[in-house]
């Protein structure tokens, strides 16, 4: 059946309905007072273990890079750029070769994942970490060496407890520690 309109009216409201409405609101409030639906993440004591497909920070595997420039061309924010080096070619002694590798500037990166998806050899990949902050801007403009280092989530480094959220038809999201056993608040 195709989409169709359905005309309705806001239910009318009298004195009795107002009394009922007040009591209903209080009853719902009481219900959650007695049985709260807590799912707060106690960051940084706990942190969410991000799923493998999460579009977090990006790391380069230089060995796989074929210098095709696709990532730099598709980057919508011009955050990924190619750096160029001229060095002797190991395969053809005496000849020089132009090497091009991508570097990323996290001042601009919008984590759209286009570069990872367009890379024909999977040389770029996402790291499930997205809670890194910086004190100054210069640190965020990575060079080739820094781009190959996998950034670690600070919460993980500090020894936080990894948790994940599972869906529940009664409570929406439920926080579960990574090693089984359901956790409450």
């Amino acid at each position: 059946m195709p989409p169709r309109p359905s005309r309705r009216r806001v239910p009318p409201y009298g004195f009795l309905a107002a009394v009922k409405g007040n009591l209903g609101a209080i009853a719902v409030g009481l219900k959650y007072f007695l049985d709260p639906n807590r799912f707060t993440l106690h960051y940084p004591r706990e942190y969410i273990r991000l799923k493998p497909g999460y579009r977090g920070f990006i790391v380069l595997n230089k060995a796989k890079c074929i210098m095709c420039e696709s990532c730099a061309r598709i980057c919508p924010a011009a955050a990924m750029k190619m750096v160029r080096f001229q060095a002797p070619d190991p395969r053809r002694p005496g000849k020089m070769k132009l090497y091009k590798y991508p570097v990323i500037n996290y001042q601009r990166c919008i984590f759209c994942g286009y570069c990872v998806d367009v890379c024909p050899t999977e040389a770029l990949r996402h790291v499930p970490a997205h809670d890194v902050v910086y004190y100054n801007l210069e640190e965020m403009d990575l060079n080739l060496e820094q781009f190959q280092v996998e950034p670690k989530s600070p919460a993980e480094v500090e020894g936080g407890i990894p948790v994940r959220y599972v869906f529940d038809p009664e409570r929406g999201l439920v926080k579960v520690p990574e090693k089984g056993q359901a956790g409450g608040g």
């Binding site: 011009a78 190619m82 750096v83 160029r84 080096f85 001229q86 060095a87 132009l98 570097v103 080739l144």
Partner: protein, 167 residues
């Protein structure tokens, strides 16, 4: 009622006013001379096209014109709502002026203000013609015109570094 019927309803309303038809994907636009645009708008309005979806201006420096298209459709007539009809006016680029249609379609009021600041098109008879989104110094430059250049960055960073061995 199909899209052709929407088109023929608009064509009927605009008969004698339009000078050309332009087929777009998802809409059909009728070219109207600037001095007859009010007449065309009134005809469309009484045919049931009751609101403006978009006042679209396109700068064409090669032809020396700014084209203003009012994309209109209908809320009150569910059959006309299926299609989108445009009326297009070509204005000279050096002095673009046209009568405002916001007296006929109130929904065009803010969008005409937007076209005014981004392209410099003056809508005569507009109740409140002043910039809406930009600060005054920028609004005078009409940034959506093609001669306002915004530079994009290239894919290379820095020059070529010479190294003794491959990186």
């Amino acid at each position: 009622m199909s899209l052709d019927a929407v088109r023929s309803r608009a064509e009927e309303a605009l008969r004698g006013v339009y000078t050309g038809v332009e087929e777009g994907k998802g809409f059909v636009a009728f070219r109207v001379p600037a001095e007859r645009v009010v007449e065309a708008a009134e005809a469309l309005k009484s045919a049931g096209f009751d609101h403006v979806k978009s006042v679209t201006a396109v700068d064409r420096p090669k032809e020396g014109v700014i084209e203003v298209t009012y994309h209109v459709s209908s809320y009150s007539d569910p059959e006309l709502a299926r299609g989108i009809v445009g009326i297009t006016v070509s204005l000279p680029r050096d002095n673009p002026r046209m009568p405002s249609l916001s007296r006929i379609w109130v929904s065009a009021e803010f969008q005409e203000r937007e076209v005014f600041e981004f392209f410099g098109v003056v809508f005569e008879g507009h109740p409140d013609l002043r910039p809406i989104l930009l600060i005054p110094p920028l609004a005078e430059k009409h940034p959506l015109r093609k001669d306002f250049i915004v530079k994009e960055e290239q894919v290379y960073k820095g020059g070529i570094t010479k190294l003794e061995q491959p990186p």
